[in-house]
């Protein structure tokens, strides 16, 4: 897929080898930005942290006439935690502030872990949660973990606000449910009830910071009678989008968990996933890795719940 794109010019210091010149629009509010997007649908591109957008502009995958500088909307950068409502993260919150947030570390350790393993510190200082979701690359960590946590993405457009489930938000490589005039304003994560646990695991083949061959996130909830009452299993990075493993979930929900059951669930977790063949691994390899990771993640989550309940 990526091989079809034009390659980066050899020298970026030469004027003509640089990105195409553009104009900058600085909105004062989200509605300002979406109005502008509505008017210049094909020409305008919102930019937040720029970690993905600038690279794509340098490679001339993107050549917008207008950039909408969202970073000036400072009120969209916040992390609010409420014990009943859960966590609300503004779309312009950087990965680094999520990683270093105490509310996140105490209540959603898997979320912290997923954000702490994005790129490097400089990327995390610049990149934002909303930008990462809108970029919709399946290898990014945030979509996978947010889908497992049952998050909702809040979108604001010209016609108003709507909410989309995180696991349905990404529809394909670089494709989302965002309409041309919409912007992501908030991510809402429900609270983690007692007897629940979430785990995030990723596997990279070349170096720790490389794009992963597979990422998994799994959420388990076990009630007082030791019966699994909820499960959300998500596989990312393998295919063109993230996948909810409904078949594995149906194996687990409503049953008392055993080692055998977890093994069965992880064995079928790659059902219906179309794995992509790229430098990070062959389809067979990626699917096998996901099964192993899912098994480990489920065991870790189950053990954590057992410890908390005993």
């Amino acid at each position: 897929m990526l091989a079809d794109y034009p390659t980066r010019p050899a020298s970026c210091n030469e004027e003509e080898a640089y990105m195409k010149p553009f104009n900058v629009f600085t909105p004062r509010s989200v509605s300002d930005a979406s109005l502008f997007l509505e008017k210049n649908q094909k020409d305008a591109r919102p930019i937040a942290g720029g970690t993905a957008t600038v690279i794509m502009m340098k490679e001339r995958i993107l050549a917008p006439n207008y950039l909408i500088d969202l970073k000036k909307l400072k009120h969209l950068s916040y992390i609010k935690f409420n014990k009943v409502k859960g966590l609300r993260i503004g779309s312009l919150t950087t990965h680094r502030s999520i990683e270093t947030s105490r509310a996140v570390a105490e209540n959603y350790p898997a979320l912290r872990e997923a954000f702490a393993s994005i790129g490097n510190v400089r990327i995390r200082n610049a990149g934002t949660i909303g930008g990462s979701l809108a970029y919709a690359e399946p290898q990014c960590n945030p979509p996978t973990i947010l889908a497992a946590l049952g998050a909702e993405v809040v979108l604001a457009g010209v016609k108003g606000i709507r909410r989309v489930d995180a696991h349905k938000f990404i529809t394909g490589i670089f494709e989302t449910k965002l309409k041309p005039n919409e912007l992501i304003t908030e991510v809402r994560i429900p609270r983690m009830p007692s007897g629940s646990s979430c785990k995030f695991l990723k596997f990279t083949t070349r170096s720790e910071e490389d794009k992963p061959s597979a990422t998994i996130a799994c959420y388990l909830q076990i009630d007082a009678k030791h019966v699994c009452s909820a499960a959300r299993l998500v596989v990312g990075a393998v295919g063109p989008r993230i996948y909810r493993c409904k078949k594995s979930e149906s194996i687990l929900i409503g049953k008392r968990l055993t080692n055998r059951l977890l093994a069965d669930a992880s064995e079928v977790c790659t059902d219906k996933i179309e794995a992509l063949d790229d430098i990070y691994g062959s389809p067979w390899y990626k699917l096998e890795i996901s099964k192993v990771l899912m098994g480990r993640g489920l065991h870790a989550a189950w053990n954590e719940i057992k410890e908390s309940q005993s």
Binding site: I55, V121, R122
Partner: protein, 186 residues
């Protein structure tokens, strides 16, 4: 002004045509410079403002040779757009010293041999400064994790880690020494 745009909310010159000027504070000096919209912050600092310690290598924010400290946080200047850096405060390796005395981290890198060819060193030192600003006494794992985004092909990294540890040690021992002196006087 854009053609065909008559909306009230957009009639306030909010669309900026390129090229234009930005005002940044580079190494403590406020500067007003003309930029083109398609310049990266790296292009502005290195080619227009002459801070040659900032280098472009990978161009995608992975190697750390272009690290600058922008508004107190380390960022990759190769993927920051210069035109969006209005009013930001930028520190490069040139701004660490007054021209006479080395910054404690620079001193420590020299003493511990934290570099060989020196190409990655400005980025390494700025990244280490950002680390020590956030975590004054980092553990070995914290140093490794924080510095993992900066690549060096010469040292094998241990000398760099030791340089940072040494700088922390120096700073702490000075402080202890200072307290000791003060206590001994009273």
């Amino acid at each position: 002004m854009l053609p065909g745009m008559k909306s009230r909310s957009h009639n306030r010159n909010m669309v900026v045509q390129h090229p234009r000027e930005v005002e940044i504070s580079l190494n403590g000096i406020r500067r007003r410079v003309a930029v083109k919209s398609n310049w990266t912050l790296l292009r502005l600092i290195r080619n227009s403002l002459g801070c040659k310690s900032v280098k472009e290598v990978c161009g995608i924010g992975e190697c750390g040779a272009c690290t600058v400290i922008k508004d107190g946080r380390a960022v990759s200047s190769c993927i920051e757009l210069a035109i969006l850096c209005q009013d930001s405060t930028i520190l490069t390796a040139e701004g660490l010293t007054d021209g006479e005395n080395l910054h404690p981290l620079q001193d420590s890198f020299v003493k511990e041999g934290g570099f060989q060819c020196g190409f990655c060193t400005p980025g390494m030192i700025l990244m280490a400064k950002a680390l020590l600003d956030e975590t004054p006494n980092p553990t070995l794992d914290e140093i490794k994790e924080y510095m993992s985004g900066n690549l060096c092909r010469c040292t094998g990294y241990w000398q760099i880690i030791e340089s940072i540890q040494n700088a922390v040690h120096q700073k702490n021992s000075k402080r202890i020494h200072y307290h000791h002196q003060r206590n001994s006087k009273t």
